[in-house]
């Protein structure tokens, strides 16, 4: 246990990306936060605790990589030469990408504990944790194990429609019950700009995230529009910040990242 304490205690900030609803873009937001912080000069770790549906390796195009073990523990997969962004996911441990991880709770918990204790995050500024949808085993285990490390809090991702907002309300209750601070709510897929005529269509309606934030008096971190370039980047594992510099979604992401950096710099 002594050794495990060391790995996480070198991490300065821990951010958990949560959502009660699936497919709202948790992994996309988590990966873009990690990339954005890296571009802002921070050292970042990204931990994917979605054991049944790991998406992070695909989003960085590192699906084929392996986890290496050294005497200190497991080494994350670095996506850049300077080793400023390290990634850990169960996806690296599967020998075939179609294999299903059919595990019940206790086994998932053991794996997450191992991820939290055994991965060698050497002196990173931010650890971003991507979670599966829901309020169950994975989430409880992550939060229980992080308690002694004072996580900065959770970013809740939602899409604008009422069905998704309904699930995110439950996630807010979950954060309150588990005493996890809430950094804020982000509304993803907020409107689609037609590439031909520029018409904005609210494919999944609009404003649900903002009104939820108001209702629960938690900060609203902004809207990320539905941008096919962003989906394309995550599909191809490209760096969205470099590939599509002028994109509308970048602006929204950058505001979010500035906010997270302020948290860092306000500290003594």
């Amino acid at each position: 246990m002594a050794a495990s304490r060391d790995h996480l205690s070198t991490v300065r900030h821990v951010i958990v990306v949560l959502s009660g609803k699936g497919g709202v873009g948790k992994s996309t937001v988590a990966s873009q936060i990690a990339l954005g912080l890296m571009h802002a000069g921070k050292k970042v770790g990204l931990l994917d605790v979605d054991l049944c549906g790991p998406s992070i390796p695909k989003m960085f195009n590192v699906e084929e990589k392996d986890i290496h073990q050294c005497p200190e523990g497991w080494l994350p997969v670095y996506i850049d030469k300077e080793q400023r962004l390290g990634v850990m996911s169960i996806g690296f441990l599967l020998s075939n990408k179609d294999d299903a991880v059919v595990w019940r709770g206790p086994k998932k918990n053991a794996m997450i504990k191992q991820f939290l204790s055994d991965v060698v995050w050497s002196n990173i500024d931010y650890l971003v944790i991507d979670t599966p949808p829901g309020t169950t085993d994975e989430h409880l285990t992550v939060i229980e194990n992080l308690k002694s490390y004072n996580p900065d809090g959770a970013i809740l991702v939602t899409t604008p429609q009422a069905v998704a907002v309904g699930d995110v309300r439950r996630e807010l209750t979950f954060c309150k019950k588990t005493h996890l601070p809430i950094i804020g709510i982000i509304e993803n897929m907020s409107g689609f700009v037609c590439p031909c005529c520029g018409e904005v269509t609210n494919v999944f309606s609009k404003g649900g995230g903002e009104s939820l934030a108001k209702q629960f008096s938690v900060p609203f971190l902004g809207c990320i529009p539905l941008d096919p370039h962003l989906t394309q980047s995550t599909e191809e594992g490209r760096d969205f910040f470099e590939a599509f510099k002028g994109s509308v979604a970048i602006k929204a992401l950058q505001t979010l990242i500035q906010r997270l950096i302020l948290v860092d710099e306000n500290l003594p």
Partner: protein
């Protein structure tokens, strides 16, 4: 993008398959040789068990299959067809599809349809079917489901919560207990189709549903996906799961397949099928492809308002696509029924 610069001392961590994929077998991977299996009559008492750290657990646990499996079978005897809607990925439209499958089936007033929502942490069914805030009543014959229409009933954990903010923060065993109750204790009456909506993933809820239904005949699973690879990745895992647990697959539905701009009528791929989409995945995995549902903002709106898209916008491409897919599912189930009839018929002759 990836740079391999690990230290020389490092070695690759990679589990063998059996280590990472729990099977339905009841012999644990790390059990002693000749382990009789945890559910065997001899569990904890066989020769091989002496010295096993789990001996006392095995010896004291109830033997044989869970009696609930039998009870579920008896309860669901009055249900003709059971269809499970699955997807490895979240937010692809499982609940939307489940609701519209139910609406579409219920369009025939001679059919009785039931919907069971086993998404314990994120129940969406009450809202999508427009029965939020309703209560479940208990009677001598079990829990009465909530009726959306004369021939459409639904059961969800959402009806058991006192407020829409209330979170169900449960670990696996507790979720399994509720699923067991849903399958065993709900008084559905005579039902033609029971459609089961599931949460994303391949974990507790899915294993429990399959396990409890193992003796009740399930027609199969409809797997929902969106076109992009990030989603297909998880859906392939779900298909592997179905194969592993012996759940037949009725087919794959691709949702959010292309978006037609309401102004210029040009189609854009919001979720681009970079690897060929659901159809290619289905043919690669050798499962039937049931069809594509276009992304229509009105579908989401209908779900938010608890209305049926099929009757609200009866003359749209998405409605036609829905109806075609529902027809295929009905045909599959009817073929299943005939097969069983001939099988039982043969048995009668012999």
């Amino acid at each position: 993008m990836y740079v391999d610069n690990q230290s020389n001392k490092s070695e690759v961590v990679k589990g063998n398959n059996s280590d990472y994929i729990a099977t339905m077998a009841d012999v644990p991977d790390n059990a002693p040789k000749l382990c009789p299996g945890t559910r065997s009559e001899k569990a904890g008492e066989a020769e091989a068990c002496s010295g096993c750290p789990n001996q006392s657990v095995c010896a004291s646990a109830p033997k044989g299959p869970d009696p609930a499996i039998r009870e579920v079978k008896e309860r669901l005897h009055s249900v003709k067809h059971k269809v499970i809607v699955l997807s490895g990925k979240g937010g692809v439209g499982k609940s939307t599809f489940t609701a519209h499958l139910a609406h579409g089936l219920a369009a025939d007033p001679n059919r009785q349809i039931a919907v069971l929502d086993v998404d314990i942490c994120g129940p969406s069914m009450p809202r999508i079917l427009g029965v939020e805030g309703e209560q479940v009543h208990q009677s001598g014959s079990g829990w009465s489901p909530v009726y959306v229409d004369d021939n459409l009933s639904v059961m969800s954990v959402g009806f058991l919560l006192s407020s829409p903010d209330e979170a169900v923060i449960w670990r696996g065993p507790k979720k399994n207990g509720l699923i067991k109750q849903f399958l065993r204790d709900v008084d559905w009456g005579e039902v033609d189709y029971l459609v089961i909506d599931t949460p994303p993933g391949t974990s507790d809820e899915h294993l429990s549903v399959v396990q409890y239904l193992s003796e009740s005949k399930v027609d199969g699973a409809v797997v929902v996906t969106t076109p992009q690879e990030v989603s297909l990745l998880d859906v392939r895992k779900e298909i592997s799961f179905c194969r592993k647990v012996g759940l037949p697959i009725i087919g794959v539905v691709e949702n959010m397949s292309g978006f037609i701009c309401p102004k210029c009528k040009n189609e854009s791929q919001i979720f681009p099928p970079t690897t060929g989409g659901g159809e290619k995945m289905a043919s690669d995995m050798n499962v039937p492809f049931l069809g594509r549902l276009p992304l229509d903002p009105r579908i989401g709106k209908c779900c938010d308002e608890g209305k049926s898209y099929l009757t609200t916008v009866p003359d749209s491409p998405a409605t036609h696509a829905f109806i075609q897919i529902i027809d295929k599912i009905v045909k599959h189930c009817q073929a299943n029924e005939q097969k069983t009839e001939t099988e039982t018929g043969e048995m009668d002759c012999s």
